[in-house]
């Protein structure tokens, strides 16, 4: 490691994870705004001769029009198809200078990021500003057709041809029926992906891709004064777009037990998913939901691991997660059947564990263990400059405060057994949930 600096961030937070008291951790950063509304976050760290440039746009699947599932993600692909001065694609430029890059689309946001050698910061700023300022200049039907096909292939590879990939999409369809924008879980349906037009892309770009709807984080080995000058030069002249109206679609609430069976052509083992409506992101009880997931099925010492994987062995694996997202999330428990056991064997033990947690709550030791896991994972997650930039932008985009890490950790530290019990009682209703069984599709015989 070239320049030894010590990251106070990780020190403080992890000390907290193991002991119990220490000062709140912080990531040093400065934040300002350009006249056009672009939020800029600068956080130098000279340990490696590299710099991460990371842009979040506050637009995701939530902003899609009815009948256009998958569109926000398809649009993300178009951002890698070249802009007026960056040809044929940003990848080509970045690979020439030894940078790495990618982007991702989520329910509520889209991000674009690269890590480049520190003397190439200007190149990263140039190409990010070019696709914000000049994307439409070179956009045409041919480029769009290629990416419609690439995204359709992504769906085939990551969902259709992957065991339980269709289960994930079906959960979204049951939770968020069309025309809800979360319908088909970000990736979208192939007919709707293929229906996207050049005008759709142009309209979406003009509506959501303006500096006023973006946050740029630069983390790593750079000089802040120089970075400010470059950001002003390249991003400053890009005009602000219209104010973006946040989507406000009511969360469709489950009102009964939805019992369904799905046949998956590429699955080999039965699986059961129980799904409930969950909180929105950063809701007061979000952290309690995360801790509940770990206590229930999210660790090697969790309750369902004990009862279903170790004791009765009806399951080969169990997992649970709370997905708190902008328009209302979900809580999910998954159990994969073990050694010829039936999907029908899985429901009762999951139900028993939930009943117990609702009745008595978790133990203090379980909650402490889960909190430690969560806090340590959160902090290990920002060891790399790229993920630190992402975290700063996440807090900025959703909460308006890049420095929210300390509060984020604090809300996990504050979770009590009673809060976890309350979450289970509030959300995990026996009479309002999805019970989705996935079975291997009967084999085609020739």
């Amino acid at each position: 490691m070239s320049k030894l600096g010590r990251l106070t961030l990780v020190l403080g937070a992890l000390a907290l994870a193991s002991a119990a008291r220490a000062a709140d951790p912080t990531i040093a950063f400065e934040k300002y705004q350009l006249a056009n509304g672009l939020t800029v976050i600068l956080s130098p760290d000279h340990r490696l001769p590299q710099v991460a440039v990371n842009v979040w746009y506050h637009v995701g699947a939530a902003n899609q029009a009815p009948g256009r599932s998958g569109f926000a993600h398809l649009f993300e692909h178009m951002m890698f198809s070249g802009s007026k001065h960056v040809q044929p694609s940003p990848f080509k430029v970045l690979e020439t200078i030894g940078g790495s890059a990618n982007g991702s689309t989520s329910f509520d946001r889209t991000n674009y990021y690269e890590v480049v050698p520190s003397n190439e910061l200007a190149a990263a700023i140039w190409l990010e500003s070019d696709r914000l300022g000049f994307l439409l200049d070179t956009l045409d039907a041919k480029k769009l057709q290629v990416q419609r096909d690439v995204v359709s292939n992504e769906r085939r590879q990551s969902y259709e041809n992957r065991p339980y990939g269709l289960t994930f999409l079906h959960v979204c369809d049951l939770l968020y029926p069309s025309p809800h924008p979360y319908y088909q879980c970000i990736i979208g349906s192939v007919p709707e992906i293929q229906a996207a037009s050049v005008d759709d892309v142009k309209g979406f770009f003009r509506e959501f891709y303006g500096p006023q709807n973006a946050s740029l984080a630069i983390v790593g080995d750079f000089d802040p004064a120089q970075a400010r000058a470059l950001v002003e030069q390249y991003f400053g002249p890009i005009p602000a777009g219209p104010a973006v109206k946040r989507p406000s679609v009511p969360q469709p609430m489950l009102t009964s037990v939805v019992r369904e069976t799905l046949e998956d052509p590429v699955a080999e083992v039965p699986r059961l998913d129980l799904v409930w409506n969950g909180p929105v992101m950063y809701a007061e009880d979000e952290a309690a939901g995360d801790v509940l997931a770990v206590v229930l099925a999210g660790s090697d010492a969790s309750r369902l691991t004990r009862s279903m994987v170790h004791a009765s062995r009806v399951a080969a694996s169990v997992s649970a997660g709370s997905q708190a997202i902008g328009l209302g999330g979900w809580f999910q428990v998954t159990a994969v059947a073990n050694g010829g056991r039936k999907a029908g064997d899985l429901l009762a033990p999951v139900q028993a564990a939930i009943d117990e947690l609702k009745k008595d709550g978790p133990t203090a030791a379980e909650v402490e263990r889960a909190k430690r896991q969560f806090i340590a994972a959160r902090v290990r997650g920002v060891e790399r400059i790229g993920s630190r930039a992402d975290q700063l932008n996440k807090y900025q985009t959703y909460l308006g405060d890049p420095g929210w890490l300390a509060q984020d950790l604090a809300r996990y530290r504050a979770v009590t057994p009673a809060a976890v019990q309350a979450f289970a009682r509030k959300y995990l209703a026996d009479d309002r949930r999805i019970e989705l069984t996935t079975l291997p599709k009967a084999k085609v015989t020739k």
Binding site: V10, L11, A316
Partner: protein
């Protein structure tokens, strides 16, 4: 937590969270459930300027990356200790490499190395399985064990301040796994379910076929990864204990440490915690020779109804310490190591057949191979195979296009710091370098060695090693849809599995 609640409310209903100036946004009326059709916003143009016309020049001065070079010592029990001190974060990563991989598995016991590794964290002489798991989690540590072709690896990541306690847990797993019969049966069941699941994974099936062809089906590495249901059922508790006793040997082990601890300090701790670990030097089992890949064949594994086919084309290379590996790595970046490589640009960005096609070098201590692989739309399987063949033939000529050499080299040189950013990555990479018999200053010397690669070097290794007519083709896809067209390509004998 009222603040969180307020923020969440603002998130849901604020008109514009980032409009300047930005006070804490008061809630505004929620939009109706079905929003009215948006009015087309005015089109605003960014004024063009000459400075945007091309990529800005790099800032003066070359960024200097001091790649990690480990300090070397030996533990009292004979294990090699490699330490990269890094005080940046209060974390320590340790990777222990044991010469106990698939190579050491006896015939009929495929999966034994991985099964044994699984058992390390499933109960020890001191703690039952669940108590052991809780102890690791109580330290907020991560501890796992896996086996690969040549080695078993134990990985620990913990806070500096918990290092002594975490090493106690590591030592328990390494030295005193209990192999309780009940836990063995539980883990066996999970492994059998895993093998059943594997049947649904086209990339795993393609990888098994590739291994069978490259290593030969009599060689342990040529057998299905993770074993077969029969071999997993045949493994006894005595087999697991014997594998552990025979091959978890400090005499051939490496202990790679990276992070917030000095070499002397960690050596003293390891000598203390691993004092009971003694070398027995069990002889290695004899293994059959690898086959030569002399002619192209086509293997089709039927996945009825699949919307994608996995296509793999594999070729024989050389062991990891071969001098051609550096120019070959450059060649691979031209062929398929990068997003902008030929295979991906052709099959993803031009043809639209795939979400991504890659090629990788798989270099081991005594054998190496090249694999070009991806998932392709089933209806374009044969067309895709033709493009694979075309791109491989192009590499075999050794001719490069403008910019390709520089891009391939820069990606390797300048991407290096990112691959060595975390303690886990440093401990693992140094462990691999040492395990493959490469010099320990490998990463420090690597940039200069890559920089020296010329177009002539790439052409030479292209001609010497990329020989499409000797590269077997593996397709895992819907036979009914792909077989006739594949046959018509006349690439070689076609076997359906």
């Amino acid at each position: 937590m009222t603040r969180t609640l307020a923020l969440a409310a603002a998130l849901l209903s604020a008109a514009c969270a980032s409009a300047p100036p930005k006070p804490a946004a008061p809630p505004v009326a929620a939009a109706p459930a079905t929003p009215p059709a948006p009015v087309a916003p005015p089109v605003l143009e960014t004024p063009d300027a000459p400075f945007r016309a091309q990529k800005p020049a790099a800032a003066p001065g070359e960024p200097r990356f001091e790649a990690p070079v480990p300090k070397v010592a030996a533990l009292k029990n004979g294990a090699r200790l490699l330490v990269v001190e890094n005080r940046a974060v209060p974390l320590v990563a340790i990777e222990i490499v044991l010469r106990a991989g698939v190579d050491q598995e006896p015939a009929g016991k495929g999966g034994l190395a991985g099964f044994t590794a699984d058992m390390l964290t499933e109960g020890t002489a001191r703690r039952p399985a669940l108590e052991y798991a809780a102890s690791v989690e109580d330290l907020a540590a991560r501890l796992s064990a896996t086996a690969d072709l040549e080695t078993t690896r134990l990985r620990l990541n913990c806070l500096t301040e918990t290092l002594p306690e975490a090493l106690d847990l590591l030592a328990e797993a390494l030295l005193t796994p209990a192999f309780h019969a009940d836990d063995v049966e539980r883990v066996r069941g999970i492994r059998l379910t895993g093998l059943q699941q594997k049947k649904a994974s086209p990339p795993a099936l393609a990888a098994d076929e590739a291994a069978r062809i490259v290593y030969g089906e009599k060689h342990p590495r040529g057998r299905p990864a993770g074993g077969t249901p029969e071999s997993i059922k045949a493994i006894t508790r005595a087999d697991l204990k014997a594998f552990h006793d025979d091959y978890y040997d400090p005499g051939s082990a490496l202990v790679s440490v990276a992070g917030d601890v000095g070499a002397a300090e960690v050596k003293a701790l390891l000598d203390q915690k691993l004092a009971a670990w003694k070398s027995k030097r069990k002889a290695e089992p004899k293994r059959p020779a690898y086959p030569k890949l002399a002619a192209r064949s086509v293997t089709l594994v039927d996945k009825p109804g699949a919307s994608q086919s996995q296509v793999w084309v594999v070729g024989e290379l050389f062991p990891a310490n071969h001098p051609d590996r550096i120019p070959m790595a450059v060649l691979n970046n031209v062929l398929g190591g990068l997003f902008g490589s030929r295979l991906n640009l052709n099959l993803r960005e031009t043809k639209g057949y795939s979400y991504g096609v890659r090629s990788t070098l798989r270099l081991e201590s005594d054998r190496g191979w090249l694999a070009a692989a991806g998932g392709l739309q089933a209806k374009f399987t044969a067309e895709s195979v033709t493009e694979f063949e075309k791109e491989l033939a192009g590499m075999a000529t050794g001719e490069l296009r403008e910019g390709e050499l520089q891009r391939a080299k820069e990606a390797l040189i300048r991407g290096l710091p990112t691959t060595l950013e975390t303690n886990d990555a440093v401990a693992g990479s140094i462990a691999s370098v040492a395990s493959l018999g490469l010099p320990l200053d490998w990463f420090a010397k690597l940039p200069d060695r890559i920089a020296k690669v010329t177009e002539a070097d790439v052409a030479r290794v292209g001609k010497a090693w990329v020989r499409p007519a000797r590269m077997p083709v593996i397709v895992v896809g819907p036979r009914a849809e792909v077989e006739a067209k594949l046959k018509a390509l006349e690439l070689g004998p076609l076997t359906v599995k």
